[in-house]
C-alpha cells in the first residue's frame, strides 16, 4: 500500500473513532438529561394523580364502603380530565383492573409488573413502536387497597435520541469525507518532494545525473532531497571525471598507435623490399637509411613513453633543496650540440625544492623545443629570479612561435604543431607532455606565452629551498 492512502486512512480512522466517541457521549448525556426530566415530570404527575385518586376515592366512600362502580366512575372522570394522549392510567385492586385507560398494547402483565416493582418504582415498558414509563402507587380508601398504575409515553425521548444518532452519523460521514479530501490533498502536497525524488533516482538509475530535486521545504523530506541532490552532484562529477579519463586514455591510445604505425609501415615496407630481391645500390642504401631512422624514432618514442608512464604512476616526488645553477649546468652538459646557443642568467645562490634529474630533464626538453623554433638571434635564454610567488624559471626564444589555436593542446601527448617538421627534427610529440607532468610533480604548472614570428616564453614557478 502506498504512503498517501496509508496516511489518509490512518487519519480517517482516528477521526472517525474520535467523532463517534464524542458524538456518542454528547447524545448519551443529552438523552439522560431528557430522560431524567421526563421522569421527574412523570413522577410529579403520578403523585398528583395518586393524590387526586386518593381524594376522589375518599369522597366517594359511602358508609365506610367504596363500590367498584364508584372507582370506575372516578377513573373515567379523572381520565377525561387528565386526557389520554400521553399514556393513561389504571386502577387495580387485588390484581384486578377496576379501571384502565392504559394503551391496549401495554397489556395486563405490564401493569402487574409495575405493581410488583413497588411504590413509585420506575418501569420502562416497550409496546410496539412506543415506549412507556410506568409507575404504580398504593392508594387506601375505606380499608381497601388500590393501586394506581400510570403509564407515560416517553417514545419521544427515545426517538429524539435515535434522530440524534442518525444526524450524528450523517454529520460524521460528511466530516470524514471532508477530512479525507483535505488529508489526501495535504498528504499529497507533503509527499510531492518524495515523488520528485523517486523520479530523480529513476533518472539516476538510468544514467541521467542532470535532474535536480531542488525542494525548498525545510522538513525531513526537504533535507533528504537536498542530500540526494548533493549525492547526484558528486556522482555526476565522478562520472564526468571517469568519462574524461577514459576519453583521454582513448585519445592517447589512438594517438599512440598512429605514432607507431608510421615507423612500422616504413620499417616493414623497406625491409620487405630489401629481402625480396636485389635492388640498385642507391635504393638499397636509402631503404636501410629509412629503416634505421624509423627504428630510432620508435626507440625515442618508447623511451619517452616509458618515462611518462613512470611519472604518471608516480604520485609524489621527494623534493630536495638543490642549487638551480647546478640543474642548469646539468642541462647544458646533456646538450653539447646546443650549448653555444644557451644564454643562462641565474644567481648561483638560488636554491629550489626539486628532483634534480627530472628538473634538468624538463629544462632540457624546453631548450630543445626552443632551439627547434629556429630563433632569429640563435639564442635560447634561460633566466631564473626570485618573485613574490617563489622562484620563476623562464626559457625564452625568439623563434617562430606557436599558433594561438595550438597553445591549449601542446602539452597533450603526441600533439605536434607541425607534424612533418617535428618528424624531420626527430620530435616524438611527447616532450611537453613530459614537461607538464614533471612540473605538476613539482607542484607547479607550465605557463606558455607565444606570438607567431616573435617567439615563445615558458615559465615555471618553483618553491625556494634552503640548503
Amino acid at each position: 500500500m502506498k504512503l498517501a492512502p496509508k496516511l489518509v486512512l490512518t487519519i480517517l480512522l482516528l477521526l472517525g473513532v474520535l467523532l463517534a466517541a464524542g458524538g456518542g457521549w454528547l447524545t448519551k448525556t443529552d438523552f439522560e438529561r431528557n430522560f431524567d426530566q421526563a421522569r421527574t415530570q412523570n413522577t410529579l404527575a403520578h403523585r398528583r394523580d395518586t393524590y387526586s385518586l386518593q381524594n376522589g376515592l375518599l369522597a366517594k366512600v359511602n358508609d365506610g364502603m367504596l363500590s367498584s362502580q364508584a372507582v370506575v366512575d372516578y377513573g373515567e372522570s379523572l381520565g377525561r380530565y387528565v386526557g389520554q394522549q400521553q399514556g393513561g392510567f389504571a386502577v387495580y385492586q387485588n390484581g384486578e383492573a377496576l379501571y384502565s385507560s392504559l394503551p391496549g398494547t401495554l397489556g395486563q402483565e405490564a401493569a402487574q409488573r409495575a405493581i410488583d416493582a413497588g411504590e413509585e418504582a420506575l418501569l420502562l415498558q416497550k409496546a410496539g413502536q412506543d415506549s412507556y414509563m410506568m409507575m404504580a402507587s398504593e392508594v387506601q380508601a375505606a380499608g381497601e387497597e388500590y393501586w394506581l398504575v400510570s403509564a407515560y409515553d416517553v417514545t419521544g425521548v427515545f426517538q429524539a435520541r435515535e434522530a440524534k444518532f442518525r444526524e450524528l452519523f450523517r454529520l460524521e460521514l460528511a466530516a470524514l469525507a471532508l477530512a479525507g479530501a483535505a488529508a489526501a490533498l495535504a498528504v499529497s502536497w507533503m509527499i510531492r518532494p518524495l515523488k520528485k525524488l523517486e523520479k530523480a533516482s529513476q533518472a539516476v538509475a538510468a544514467g541521467d545525473y542532470t535532474l535536480s530535486t531542488a525542494t525548498k521545504s525545510r522538513d525531513e523530506v526537504g533535507a533528504l532531497s537536498r542530500s540526494f541532490d548533493a549525492m547526484t552532484a558528486t556522482v555526476r562529477d565522478k562520472v564526468d571525471q571517469m568519462e574524461d579519463t577514459i576519453l583521454r586514455q582513448k585519445q592517447f591510445v589512438s594517438a599512440f598507435t598512429h605514432e607507431l604505425k608510421t615507423p612500422m609501415t616504413s620499417i616493414l615496407g623497406y625491409s620487405d623490399l630489401l629481402r625480396s630481391g636485389e635492388m640498385d645500390p642507391e635504393d638499397q642504401r636509402q631503404a636501410v637509411q629509412y629503416i634505421h631512422r624509423e627504428a630510432l624514432r620508435l626507440e625515442t618514442l618508447s623511451g619517452k613513453l616509458m618515462q611518462l608512464m613512470g611519472l604518471v604512476e608516480q604520485e609524489e616526488l621527494t623534493l630536495e633543496p638543490v642549487r638551480l645553477a647546478l640543474v642548469l649546468r646539468d642541462t647544458a652538459a646533456s646538450l653539447p650540440e646546443l650549448a653555444p646557443m644557451l644564454e643562462i642568467q641565474c644567481d648561483p645562490a638560488l636554491t629550489v625544492l626539486a628532483d634534480r634529474d627530472l628538473l634538468a630533464d624538463l629544462v632540457r626538453n624546453l631548450v630543445i623545443n626552443a632551439a627547434r623554433a629556429q630563433p632569429k638571434d640563435g639564442r635560447v635564454h634561460i633566466t631564473a629570479g626570485r618573485t613574490e610567488e617563489g622562484i620563476v624559471l623562464r626559457v625564452a626564444d625568439r623563434g617562430r612561435g606557436i599558433p594561438e589555436a595550438d597553445l591549449p593542446h601542446i602539452t597533450e601527448p603526441f600533439y605536434m604543431v607541425d607534424k612533418s617538421r617535428a618528424r624531420a627534427q626527430n620530435g616524438s610529440g611527447m616532450g611537453l607532455a613530459l614537461c607538464a607532468r614533471i612540473a605538476r610533480l613539482h607542484g607547479s604548472e607550465l605557463r606558455f606565452t607565444s606570438r607567431l614570428g616573435q617567439g615563445t616564453v615558458v615559465e615555471l614557478n618553483l618553491r625556494e629551498g634552503t640548503v
Binding site: T262, L268, G269, L273, S276
Partner: protein, 219 residues
Amino acid sequence: MKPILIVDDEAAIAQLIAMTLARMGYTCQMAFDGLKAAELLEKNEYDLVLLDIMLPGADGYELIDFIRPTGIPVIFISAKTTVADRVKGLHLGACDYIVKPFAPEELLARVENVLRLSGRGQALLKAGDVTVDVATRQVKKAGQEVALTPTEYHLLLVLLHNKNIALYRDTLYERVWGRDAELDTRTLDIHIHRLRKKLGWQHMIRTIPRVGYRLEETS
C-alpha cells in the same frame, strides 16, 4: 601512361610507395603536404592519386573534394584503421582504402585493380610474347592460350611484378606458398621448370646462383 601522385607527409612512406610502384614500371611524383599536392594536381595530369588523410596544409578529406571533379581515381592510404574512417573515405569517393602498415604486394595489387577498373592501367601484363589478362586469368603465348595451375599462375604474377629484379628464393617461395608453408625450395624449382616449359621461357627466367630467379625482358 600518366604518372601516379603520392601524397604523404612522411617522406619515408612516400618514398617506399614510389619504390614499390617503380618496380612495376609506374612513374611516380611525390607531394609532402596538401597544398603542394593541390598545386601539382592543377599543373599536371595523373592516372591515380595515393592520398594520406592526416596532412599538413590541406588534409586528405579536403583534397579529395578537390580531386573528385577531375575524375582521377583516389586510394586513401592511412593509419586510421577504424571502420568509420574507412567508410568515410570510401563515401567521399575514394576507390579503395589501404591501411598502414601495408605490404608492398598488397599496395601493388590494389593499385593495379583500381587502374584496371577505371580503364587507365594496363588490362594486360606482358613479357615477351606472353600476355596475362588479370581480370579473366587468361594466359596467352603468341595468341595461344596456355593452361596454368593456380600456383603456376601466382608464381608467374610475382615474376611479372618484379621484372628484371633478382628475387631471393625464400622470399619468392613465401610470396607464392604463403608465410606458413614449410620452406621447400625444391618445389619452387619444379614450378619454375614447368613455367619455363609451358611458356617457352628457358632463357627469360634466369637462374641467379646463390640468389634465386629473375625474369628478364630486354625492351
